[in-house]
């Protein structure tokens, strides 16, 4: 082939690749821009601290959703962290043989669980019997968080150098002490980072909450009552016919984006600082 056509092909290829970058970063920039511009119009003290007004009335806030999200995320971590971490410990420290791969595969299938199906499952298992509640919402979110926590804790623990285990065992410590104090101690930064990233992921999920947490215009008073959540009101307000609700959807989106991005950047900074 002639040199010239080869060079032209190369130029076209480079230009197309750069266009691909623009094609994907431009919408991102526009999303962030529109969320900030529209969200800023909604956000004020009343918006962040008051309960919502009835449909059609101007004013009111989203404190119900902020409380709901905090409760849902806290509950989800309480439900999913202990079994998730323990399973991670089993897979990396105790399990030997073929069955470990089977356990890992089965739990990994959960990571392919579509979020709406997590909601369906929580509905058929919990809501049918006990009604809409914060608990059922947290159960649905846990189904999404558990495989993530298992995987990150297993990987974090596996990265702890063997010398640490050997040093502990050589001192005559029982294995559980070595695992709990030495191995988990060394793996802690990565485990924390994993839990934070899991939080950032589930905090923005609305689909699992539609038929579980359901939404509520009141303060959170009980874990066995319906609660609202930030992603949930973004969805409900966005598809509503009220202009004021649209503005509120953007305000809630801005609050949610700030939380999610802060967590993501905090993890990035933290990982850099602890050099993991």
């Amino acid at each position: 082939m002639k040199m010239r056509t080869r060079k032209i092909k190369d130029k076209i290829f480079t230009i197309v690749s750069i266009l691909a970058v623009i094609f994907i970063t431009l919408p991102l920039a526009h999303i962030i821009y529109t969320v900030v511009i529209n969200g800023a119009q909604a956000i004020n003290l009343e918006f962040l601290t008051k309960l919502p007004k009835p449909p059609g009335e101007i004013g009111g806030g989203i404190i119900n959703a902020i409380e709901g999200t905090a409760v849902l995320v806290g509950l989800t971590l309480l439900i999913s962290f202990p079994p998730g971490l323990l399973t991670g410990i089993y897979l990396s420290e105790y399990g030997k043989g073929k069955h470990v791969n089977i356990i890992r595969d089965i739990i990994n299938t959960l990571s392919g669980l579509p979020s709406i199906v997590a909601g369906l499952l929580a509905y058929t298992i919990i809501v049918i019997k006990y009604g809409f509640s914060a608990m059922s919402g947290a159960f649905a979110l846990s189904l999404l968080a558990i495989p993530y926590i298992v995987r990150t804790s297993e990987e974090a623990i596996k990265m702890v150098p063997n010398e640490i285990r050997e040093a502990g065992l050589a001192l005559g410590l029982p294995k559980w002490k070595v695992t709990l104090y030495l191995v988990l101690g060394a793996a802690r930064p990565r485990i924390i980072a994993g839990v934070l990233l899991a939080t950032a992921r589930i905090i923005g999920e609305a689909a699992p909450l539609l038929f579980t947490a359901f939404g509520s215009p009141h303060h959170v008073t009980s874990l066995f009552e319906p609660v609202s959540a930030l992603p949930l009101i973004i969805f409900i307000y966005a598809i509503s016919p009220y202009k004021d609700w649209h503005t509120k959807a953007w305000g809630a989106a801005l609050v949610l984006m700030i939380i999610v991005l802060t967590i993501n950047f905090a993890v990035k900074y933290y990982m850099k600082r602890t050099r993991i």
Partner: protein, 305 residues
Amino acid sequence: MNERKLPRFLKLDDWLGYLSLLASVALIILVLILFYELAIQSLQALKTFGISFFTGTEWNPVKGVFSALPFIYGTLFTSTLAILVAFPISIGIAIVLTEILPRNIAEILSTIIELIAAIPSVVIGLWGIFYLAPMVRDSLAPILSTLSFIPLFQGRTFGYSYLTATLVLILMITPISTSVYNEAFKYVPNDLKEAMYALGATRYEVVRKVIIPYTKSSLLAGIILAYGRAIGETLAVTMVIGNKPNITLSLLAPGYTMASVIANEFLEATNTLYVSSLVALGFILLIISLLVNYIGGVILRRLEK
């Protein structure tokens, strides 16, 4: 103690081992219960409609006739189109990241692209309703209509369409495949590339003759994982697809997916057959997405070894 008679996985030396085994077993039982529940709840719909649940095209709650095909079609149509576009885009971006930009700038750009994956699905849906759908209706559709001899671009649009949903999906899945490709391209041995450059090859030739052949299975794994994500994506799609069961090739027409019909209609479902049909849709969705994720995961894990 007679330790030898214990099965191998029970030979643990302390309480933490047993406790952690217990947690693992509990999670496995949970997964099995989940499958069991979905299967049981789907049974009524599958029994009532039999094979026509998969082949019929009617979804009519008033008449009590339910069939899954329009939704399966909508899910696969949008997701497949999305990966067809996302695939070359991700390769292009990964090439820019690994081959063209200096490392520190590439790192910033890859952080920015990861950001897209962190944006909650509802926020993308919100943007889709108020900006993307109007843009598709007013700017993109008129241009595409000039190509209306192609079935994909026939008909008129209100903005809420297969096209809008596909665009949203492309945006959401590209970061996933890009990050797989970015990692894979980094591991292409430098001597291979340098040998090509030394022979006078252009960058395009190096990409085609070295990088892509060398990373073939990563390319496949990345796009399969992205496919899994696209299939399960719910709200961002629900908010822009128009929500109308519609088997058509036209991208400009409104459509529906399995995930969106569950999201929209589950709470309104008034009788058990209706509920069971929606759960059956969820079951089909789960099976498809697990299969896709499993295949992608197997390929990735084989690569890691």
